[in-house]
């Protein structure tokens, strides 16, 4: 068994009762700003026509993708992945440019206006590092949220994944999310993954700024190289100056 941990969430919508204890736990744990949330319980509402009705509740949060677009979007690496797979935001390093927020296909991020930084589920790493479960998982009244080491076949999450067919929230984009669902999730939710366009500033940076500066510096270096070659070739006179 590998010693490298790979944390992931397993969520059983069948057990979610939409009580929102997780939302409050998360808010309390991280003092999430009023009007914002790091995690959700999504629902499509009551489906069907009276009296034949159904409703699914889908706990939702950052998917801690292995191929996380937010990490590639962050110019500085303030968003990064820990060795154990948790996708993190270094609040000290984040300047709140919002490129990651734009890049996330799950819309799992928001901007903390007070702090001026991006914010999202971080897997409660401070709790996890102490051996506790993330706040939402620990308090989940229905037992719908599980968290653990996917590399450990004995972990609760691995066993849950083996016990049932699992799905991940993937359609036109596959960013290899590490949140597994034990029930097919009803589609049509705006937060399910969709490909994101880069911002105009990002496009300018990539398409104009990078080639432009490369060209300028390249030309300068080339010019000086020629001059240097000439200098070597021509030698110099003491009384030139």
């Amino acid at each position: 068994m590998s010693n490298v941990k790979r944390y992931g969430f397993v969520i059983d919508p069948a057990r979610c009762i939409d009580c929102r204890a997780c939302l409050v736990a998360c808010r309390a744990q991280w003092q999430v700003p009023t009007g914002k949330t790091r995690i959700w319980v999504h629902t499509n509402g009551v489906q069907g026509e009276y009296p034949t009705l159904s409703q699914q509740f889908v706990p939702f949060q950052c998917q801690h993708c292995t191929d996380a677009p937010c990490i590639t979007a962050c110019p500085t690496g303030a968003t990064y992945r820990r060795e154990d797979g948790l996708v993190m935001i270094d609040e000290e390093a984040c300047i709140g440019c919002g490129l990651c927020i734009n890049a996330c296909p799950y819309e799992a991020r928001f901007l903390n206006e007070e702090k001026g930084v991006a914010e999202k589920c971080n897997g409660c790493y401070t709790r996890v590092d102490r051996g506790e479960l993330p706040a939402c998982v620990a308090t989940c009244v229905g037992g719908a949220r599980l968290f653990g080491d996917l590399n450990d076949p004995e972990s609760e999450v691995s066993k849950a994944i083996q016990s049932k067919p699992v799905t991940r929230l993937i359609n036109d984009v596959d960013t290899q999310p590490n949140v597994f669902y034990l029930q097919p999730v009803e589609a049509n939710n705006p937060s399910w993954p969709h490909a994101k366009e880069p911002t105009p500033a990002e496009t300018f940076w990539q398409k104009v700024a990078v080639p432009g500066t490369k060209l300028a510096i390249g030309a300068a270096v080339l010019g000086q190289a020629i001059a240097f070659a000439k200098q070597l070739w021509g030698g110099e006179s003491e009384f030139e100056e």
Binding site: C19, R20, F57, T139
Partner: protein, 740 residues
């Protein structure tokens, strides 16, 4: 002076929530409130506690509802930063629900009352002045003694809601000599408790979901009316493959988890259950020989329920006869692994008592209550007292006066401790059999909880003196003459709690904010001023608990450290044979007590009133984020609460051209309310549902003020003659769109 009307801080909920966010960031709760922070309070509003309470995990007990989950409070710099469930608690299982998670924000609610207040100007005018504890207690005692001298002790009404300090509250009222004790019980579970006491001899049988393969929930919305462990055990059972059938006129979140949702006509659960009993008994699907040993009335039951066929029930309930027949067979086929849940808040119709009797009978005839180890209901639980000590006290004075609630002189079968709260209110208005003059209220909000709010307010205005003990300026405090600020559950000691073989301690996790004090302290101070000092023989809260622990030889320090201790002594073995604390010692399907009181001895159909053609049933219920009317001001819960709206069925809405978000006028026989509509498929077309607990009128509650409407403005007061239970779903209303 504090004038809540003029408070510049009376802000909209949205703005307020921003402030609450600041509070979470560490701004002093005291400074945010309406009061000037006294020099006695530290600059950050929270004194740092010495020793183990600082930067520590402090175990205690939750009190966001009455389930009493064990909790672990994470405290940093004398401030609670997070609450977690205590895994050692059989009620919490390491989890806290949304309310429990948000609990510390009630403690840090900027609207906390942090100093004693004495009313200025007219009652209900929202103007108070800050008083010292000395003055507030002196004034209270003086007024109470004046009422006692002039009208007798019975002229003081005492009311309080289920809590751990209740034992000392009861000392106060019993020592004072008043028979008039109002609790929330008749508004909640009188029907269930009375029926199960009469049938099984137990207030409420315990549920064992591990043994349940087939679960019938009748209006028991466990996914929204959350009792953390029970809700978890139910989801476990469903996950394991148990079948869940939910009877509810509304598609609740519990219904969303059910295998079968039966939107039965309100008030007809009784007919449904009688028909189930009919099928099982007449076709002998139950374990009759076995059941006979433990029951009274089993032989006569077939005749008693002969007419209650599925076809008969179908006409009443609107549920097809085949469905009823099938469910009866399914229920019987699982035998003692089938559970018909007793319910909890069963204050629906005046026939709810009979419904509960039918549920008790249904469980008995499949034997689930008769096999303590294999069945899924348990009648004989361990005694709660469990050998705990108590400070010594003299006997109570003899009480000669009749009870204002009519128990037992008008309601012979209502258990004395349950009482009928709404009757006290009505007796205040009628002055019969005598006039009450004072009201002592603790941790209770009768203005919102008793049906017919205008009547309750009128009753308040008839009082000479009202004192209220609470932590918030809620609607009841708003009408009080003296408000005594209690320490929140995270700031105080309470008497011990015994649960599942453990003694649990509620202890302060931080020092009380402002000048808030524990109930044990307040009642003692008041008791001494009333000349009842002998009923409060403890030096302080810790001394009270030490006296409780004394006979058990348990160390208080160990209890403080872990939050609980195992009950000493050998574990009580559950008797192999079921024990029923009824007159016959058996399950009383036929109750002689009922028959003697002039009520049917067997579970019997009792037709509920029905709405007229243009009327609707007005249903109440529960949301998972709130406890009755106590938590709406919590800023964290406000963040996860759906706006309270009036549900109505889409087909009805289409007829009336009502759309979600429209304002509609709901009119009942006692009043009307304007409320936002929610058009949904998730309710019967003949029903409306109003999210309960909202519609607070106190401007001292800046989050909850004017948020939604209260069904107490619409509910008519109907009382079940057997159990005294209030019939909350028996109010019929009309609904019309208000043109924009």
């Amino acid at each position: 002076m504090i004038d809540y009307n003029k408070s510049p801080n009376l802000v909209t909920r949205r703005n307020f929530l921003k402030m609450a966010g600041l509070a979470a960031a560490g701004v002093a709760a005291g400074q945010m409130g309406l009061f000037k922070v006294s020099p006695a309070v530290a600059a950050d509003g929270v004194d740092h506690l010495p020793g183990p309470l600082s930067d520590a995990v402090v175990p205690s007990l939750c009190e966001m509802c009455v389930w009493r989950c064990g909790l672990l409070a994470k405290v940093t710099d004398g401030r609670i930063v997070k609450l977690d469930g205590n895994p050692a608690s059989s009620h919490s299982l390491g989890k806290l629900c949304a309310r429990g998670q948000s609990g510390f924000m009630t403690t840090y609610d900027p609207d906390r009352v942090l100093f004693p207040l004495i009313r200025v100007g007219e009652r209900g005018g929202g103007r108070f002045r800050r008083a010292t504890w000395e003055e507030a207690l002196d004034v209270t005692a003086e007024k109470m003694l004046a009422i006692k001298d002039q009208y007798g002790p019975e002229a003081m009404v005492f009311s309080s809601t289920h809590n751990l300090s209740q034992v000392q509250f009861e000392n106060l009222l019993n020592g004072f000599g008043s028979p008039n004790y109002g609790t929330q019980r008749s508004l909640c579970f009188n029907a269930m408790v009375t029926a199960f006491l009469l049938t099984y001899g137990v207030e409420e049988p315990a549920r064992n979901y591990a043994n349940a393969d087939y679960i019938l929930l009748t209006g028991r919305n466990l996914m929204e009316a959350i009792s953390t462990s029970e809700t978890f055990h139910l989801t476990e059972a469903i996950s394991r493959g148990a079948k869940l059938v939910v009877l509810d006129p509304r598609f609740t979140k519990t219904a969303a988890k059910a295998h079968e949702w039966i939107p039965i006509r309100p008030g007809t659960d009784l007919a449904f259950h009688l028909a189930l009993i009919h099928v099982i008994v007449t076709e002998q699907l139950g374990d009759c020989d076995f059941v006979k040993q433990y029951t009274v009335g089993c032989e006569e039951l077939p005749q008693a329920i002969a007419e209650y066929t599925p076809a008969w029930a179908a006409a009443i309930t609107g549920v097809p006869a085949e469905t009823i027949d099938r469910i009866a067979r399914e229920f019987a086929s699982h035998g003692h692994k089938s559970m018909a849940h007793p319910g909890w808040r069963t204050s629906n119709f005046i026939n709810s008592f009979q419904t509960e009797r039918a549920i008790a009978t249904l469980n008995a005839i499949v034997g689930n209550i008769l096999k303590p180890d294999e069945g899924c209901l348990i009648a004989n639980g361990a005694s709660e007292a469990a050998g705990l000590g108590k400070p010594p006290q003299p006997p109570y004075p003899r009480i000669g006066a009749l009870r204002l609630d009519g128990v037992p002189w008008q309601y012979p079968l209502v258990p004395l401790k349950l009482g009928i709260f709404q009757n006290i209110r009505d007796a205040i208005l009628t002055g019969q059999p005598y006039q009450a003059h004072g009201w002592f209220i603790a941790r209770q909000n009768p203005i919102l909880s008793i049906p017919d709010r205008p009547k309750t307010i009128e009753a308040f205005h008839k009082m000479d003196f009202i004192v209220d003990v609470d932590i918030l300026m809620n609607d009841t405090a708003w009408y009080a003459d003296v408000v005594l600020p209690e320490a929140s559950y995270l700031e105080r000691y309470d008497p011990l709690h015994v649960l599942d073989g453990k003694i649990w301690l509620r202890q302060p996790t931080i020092q009380p904010l402002g000048e808030a004090k524990s109930a044990l302290w307040i009642y003692k101070q008041l008791g001494e001023r009333l000349g009842l000092g002998d009923y409060f023989q403890y030096a302080d809260e810790e001394d009270y608990i030490r006296q409780q622990l004394a006979p058990l030889g348990v160390s208080f320090e160990e209890l403080k450290q872990n939050g609980y201790v195992e009950l000493p002594g050998p574990a009580k073995e559950r008797p192999a044979e079921p024990v029923f604390n009824t007159p016959s010692g058996k399950v009383e399907i036929y109750s002689a007590a009922l028959a003697n009181a002039g009520f049917p001895g067997f579970p019997t159909w009792d037709a509920p009133p029905e709405p007229a053609a243009n009327e609707f049933y007005l249903l109440t219920g529960k949301v998972a984020q709130h406890t009755q009317m106590a938590t709406q001001n919590n800023p964290y819960l406000a963040q996860v609460t759906d706006d309270p709206r009036l549900w109505l069925n889409a087909s009805v809405a289409a007829e009336k051209s009502i759309h979600t978000g429209d304002t509609v006028l709901v009119t009942s026989p006692i009043g009307s309310a304007e409320v936002e509509a929610l058009v949904t498929q998730a309710i019967r077309p003949d029903c409306l549902y109003l999210t309960p607990g909202f519609g607070h009128r106190s401007k001292g509650l800046r989050t909850a003020y004017n948020w939604g409407v209260s069904d107490s403005d619409l509910h008519v007061t109907y009382t079940d003659p057997v159990s005294g239970g209030q019939a909350l779903s028996q109010t019929f209303v009309t609904v019309e769109k208000i043109p924009a």
